[in-house]
């Protein structure tokens, strides 16, 4: 990267690296948690939390636009549609 701009809000580079690595580990753990969750409804909730983590990841990598998309789709829209689909199919089993 060339021409890094320093503002009063600039985070020190070392701190930013630590933050990025931490969030990367969190996202990996979150994805594993989604796969390992067995109950469907619970899995959707874990997926939603994972969506929020993913959004934070994009934010720490300086992509606010992608953050917004990830938040709306991963943490809100996808879980809603999944929950509705689950409630639809579950009724038949009962």
């Amino acid at each position: 990267m060339t021409g890094a701009v320093v503002t009063p809000y600039t985070v020190p580079a070392g701190l930013m690296d630590t933050l990025q690595v931490t969030v990367l580990i969190l996202v990996a753990a979150g994805a594993t948690a989604v796969v390992l969750t067995r109950r469907l409804v619970r899995q959707v909730l874990v997926l939603s939390v994972y969506g929020i983590m993913l959004a934070v990841l994009f934010l720490t990598f300086q992509a606010p636009d992608v953050t917004l998309s990830a938040l709306t789709v991963g943490a809100v829209a996808l879980p809603i549609v999944l929950l509705l689909a689950i409630s639809k199919t579950r009724k038949k089993e009962e």
Binding site: L68, T72, V76, V81, E94
Partner: protein, 253 residues
Amino acid sequence: MKPGQRRLMFFAGAAGLVAFYLWGLLGLPGFGNYPGPYGPAILRVAVAQTQATGVVSAVNFEYRGFDTVGEEFILFTAAAGTAIVLRMLRGEGERSPVDEARDRDAPPTSNAVRTIALLFTGPVVVVGWWLASHAQTNPSGGFQGGVVLATAFILIYLAGAFLTFSKLSPTDVTDAVEAAGAGGFAAVGLAALFTGLPYLYNYLPLGQIPGAVSSSGTIALISFFVGLEVAAAFLLIVSELLEQTLLIRHGGR
């Protein structure tokens, strides 16, 4: 096939995948290094050319606007597909709901859920509208704004008011808004053709101040249309699913 053989096949496949993955990984440019020519080029000219400080939106709705039209119609097709799959077939009739447990009331929505949902509805509408109408100035855009706007309607449903939900978003109106949003985007592009300009050419006044809400010409307009389309499409998909769920809950037991 014996479990032992199956495991052997898995390990062979997994080893191959890991090998290819590592091979690909080694060929990648270093972390934070972008070798392509377009990024720096866009960053140099985008604000001056479009007067939009939301450069991502400028790229989405201007430099690669044609691709975005295609993406727009992916969602449009998805909503249409949902409506077609869940439509009422010729043999099916809509049973009027029968209350099977007349001695029991339906479980009421808890006051906590109701209060939180209603408290959030107003702010969510504001945030969604702000996102959809500020693509040209800051990180935001019609897509995100549209989903947030649709969420406001879902909050009303969560507050236990399905009737209000369906009254606020009647399918006919949502259909029309979705079509207007998708068609509006395409029409903004077509209008350029009629004046002899290339498709999706930014023919509106760009404004003088980069980053002003009134700047950036067609970028802001397209983002607004995308917001309408996305909100309506998402709402349509959700209400289509909700309607089925409710019918089954009432009639199927």
